[in-house]
């Protein structure tokens, strides 16, 4: 029983981690007023660069930072389109997703002999597991805490982003250009500079999220490794009312629903309703995380208020 709970908690943490990174990125960007649907593509590039740099240099931390850097680079494109040229945020984000997926596969063929997958990493090339061996194998502690360093880092970053957004001057500026860019502008804040900063930071986080998949959860990049994570992260951020800590909770909820799904799928549970039995087919179970998200969103979260200037272009009046 205890080990079952341990398994579900461990799966929750593993599943939620890449989502938390991307959701933090989404929260920063949207608080500054820029919708970033390109997170998926930034994660994709991050996953590819993480696995590739990890493979060639053998150092997971350099790989992780490189993934963040490439995320920032892709985010720059989004910034140039949306902030400097006042393009529609949604259109730019979707274009970035198409571009990144194609470009990552193109690069992958160059680096890996025409293959669309990278070669797999050894354990010493992957993220370290700080508590590996600290607990007995298969014990509760081992199941829950024997995670890759990326998992712990994600939670530390939640704290840092929360502090950045709500306790620092730059955080106040980010939120003010998202709420009322004109007012911020008249008070002497450079709206486009603050928005650039926020969008680039969101790219860094998305890149981290991609690498958290490709150099921790598995050990190579493959074309389907990132499939929809960026969009789920955006949903989690909205679900968490545009707050980093809320987004984290939403990601954990989604992760735990996945954990339950896998746990129930193995036990082949039948729910006995007295009159008839409902067999839990794996197809129905596969819907569970999404259904739970919907129910909680509609029933328990309450009214979510977006930053008022989110998705709007801001043109300085001459």
């Amino acid at each position: 029983m205890l080990s079952d709970i341990g398994f579900i908690l461990g799966t929750t943490l593993m599943y939620a981690t890449p989502l938390i990174y991307a959701a933090l990125g989404a929260a920063i960007s949207e608080n500054s007023g820029v919708v970033n649907l390109g997170l998926e593509g930034m994660m994709y590039m991050g996953a590819f660069i993480g696995a590739t740099v990890g493979y060639y240099l053998g150092n997971p931390w350099i790989a992780f930072l490189a993934a963040g850097a490439v995320g920032a680079l892709v985010a720059c494109l989004h910034g140039i389109a949306c902030i400097s040229f006042n393009a529609d945020h949604v259109v730019s984000g979707i274009a970035i997703n198409f571009f990144s997926i194609g470009f990552a596969l193109f690069l992958c063929r160059i680096f890996f002999d025409g293959a669309t997958m990278s070669l797999s990493l050894n354990f010493d090339q992957k993220m370290p597991r700080p508590f590996n061996g600290a607990f007995e194998p298969n014990s509760f502690g081992d199941l829950v805490f024997n995670q890759y360093a990326t998992v712990y880092l994600a939670f530390i970053l939640v704290l840092i982003v929360w502090y950045l957004l709500y306790k620092t001057r730059i955080g106040l500026r980010i939120r003010s250009v998202g709420e009322h860019p004109k007012a911020a502008d008249t008070l002497g804040i450079n709206v486009s500079r603050v928005r650039y900063l926020a969008v680039i930071l969101s790219g860094v986080f998305a890149g981290f999220g991609g690498a958290a998949m490709s150099i921790a959860i598995v050990s190579r990049f493959s074309p389907t490794l990132i499939s929809g994570h960026g969009f789920i992260a955006i949903a989690a951020m909205i679900f968490g009312k545009w707050k980093p800590q809320g987004a984290m909770l939403a990601c954990l909820l989604f992760g735990s629903a996945k954990g339950f799904e896998i746990f129930l799928g193995a036990s082949g549970l039948e729910i006995d309703l007295g009159i008839f039995k409902i067999g839990m087919s794996s197809q129905i179970l596969a819907m569970l995380p999404y259904a739970v998200t919907l129910v909680v969103l509609v029933g328990f979260v309450g009214k979510a208020v977006a930053p008022s200037a989110v998705g709007l272009q801001y043109e300085k009046e001459a």
Binding site: I217, S219, S227, K258, I262
Partner: protein, 348 residues
């Protein structure tokens, strides 16, 4: 007005020249191939691309072998999304190929449509069957995955120390069923006391889910897990690596992903099938309209060559015996729930 007319005339002449140029080109291509006498064979890959370390790559290796040994010309087009299949097949048709391969069941509809639209052109498709509706200019190739799965199941059944093994499937359907029941039959044939855990991922892309399912199976005491789930298997093999257990790969020899943890793999020799059919075509034989099934006998499926790294010799020799029995049809491997039941009863 006069000038306007002149421009119109010029435009018409130019476009006429361009169009006639196109027409000529289209005609020339097939002529030139037949004149030089060299046969041309092309293939369209599905979304994995031609170097996918899976069946697309295997198909391409078959064509490369045909190029070297039979002296034919080969070429491929890759598909980046589902809407590319039709146009890719069309371009290869226009390029004057003697035979055009579609790789993977995802291309099923596109290949059928192309074959119906161009009755003079010969097509082939891997991993898809249309039964009696197969057009006479289309040959479809299926693999008896259950035979390879039976063999790896046998190895798992003989080698498990905990008397528990696992099967992880991608999305339930008739193709994955053949892996599932073939594996079950193999484990059961080796040792009826072994318990088999079975779980479906309901995805061919969610590697994290594959990893957690495998983690759970290892936690529940399984020591060998076989996956038939495409890229999801990356997660399964990762779990085996982290927990120092065994995983069994699929489609290609997956030992390189985790040399110390991939026990063996149930492989599909798409290359052999493609080579044989191309070679037959060169001799003037083409079984259009038929569904060709490649099993152990035809060299279409097998266990990975790297199996001798971890599997003891005596078990491998038992596997070799089983292979001859399967080829002689002394054992018929089940491929779905119904045939599995029969197999079970026959064994008792």
């Amino acid at each position: 007005m006069k000038r306007y007319l002149k421009i119109c005339m010029a435009a018409m002449i130019i476009s006429g020249l361009l169009l006639s140029g196109c027409g000529k080109k289209e005609k020339q291509d097939p002529d030139s191939t037949s004149q030089s006498g060299v046969m041309k064979v092309g293939m369209v890959s599905d979304l994995g691309g031609v170097m996918d370390q899976s069946f697309n790559e295997s198909a391409w290796e078959g064509l490369l072998r045909a190029q070297n040994e039979l002296g034919i010309k080969i070429g491929y087009l890759e598909s980046n999304n589902n809407s590319d299949y039709g146009p890719n097949l069309e371009s290869l048709t226009d390029a004057g190929n003697s035979l055009i391969w579609s790789i993977g069941f995802m291309m099923g509809d596109a290949a059928l449509e192309a074959a119906k639209a161009n009755p003079e052109q010969k097509y082939g498709i891997v991993d898809m069957a249309y039964g009696n509706n197969t057009p006479p200019n289309l040959i479809s190739v299926l693999f008896k995955s259950e035979q390879a799965s039976f063999l790896v199941g046998y190895i798992a059944g003989r080698m498990t120390k905990t008397n528990k093994v696992g099967f992880i499937g991608g999305i339930k359907g008739f193709i994955i069923d053949s892996f599932d029941y073939g594996f079950h039959a193999g484990v059961n044939y080796a040792n009826a006391d072994v318990k088999i855990l079975r779980q479906y991922v309901e995805s061919f892309s969610d590697a994290a889910k594959g990893k957690s399912i495998a983690n759970q199976m290892y936690q529940q005491g399984a020591d060998i897990v076989f996956h038939a789930s495409g890229p999801v298997g990356d997660g399964v093999i990762e779990a085996a690596k982290e927990k120092s257990k065994w995983a069994i790969g699929v489609d290609k020899d997956q030992n390189s992903l985790a040399p110390d943890n991939v026990l063996t793999s149930a492989i599909k020799r798409v290359d052999n099938a493609i080579f044989n059919i191309v070679s037959d075509l060169q001799k003037g034989k083409f079984a259009g309209g038929a569904t060709v099934v490649y099993g152990l006998k035809e060299g279409g499926v097998d266990i990975a060559p790297s199996s001798d790294k971890h599997v003891p010799k005596e078990i491998l020799s038992e596997v070799a015996e089983l292979k001859t029995k399967i080829i002689r049809k002394e054992i018929v491997i089940p491929y779905n729930a119904k045939t599995y039941e029969k197999f079970y009863i026959a064994k008792q």
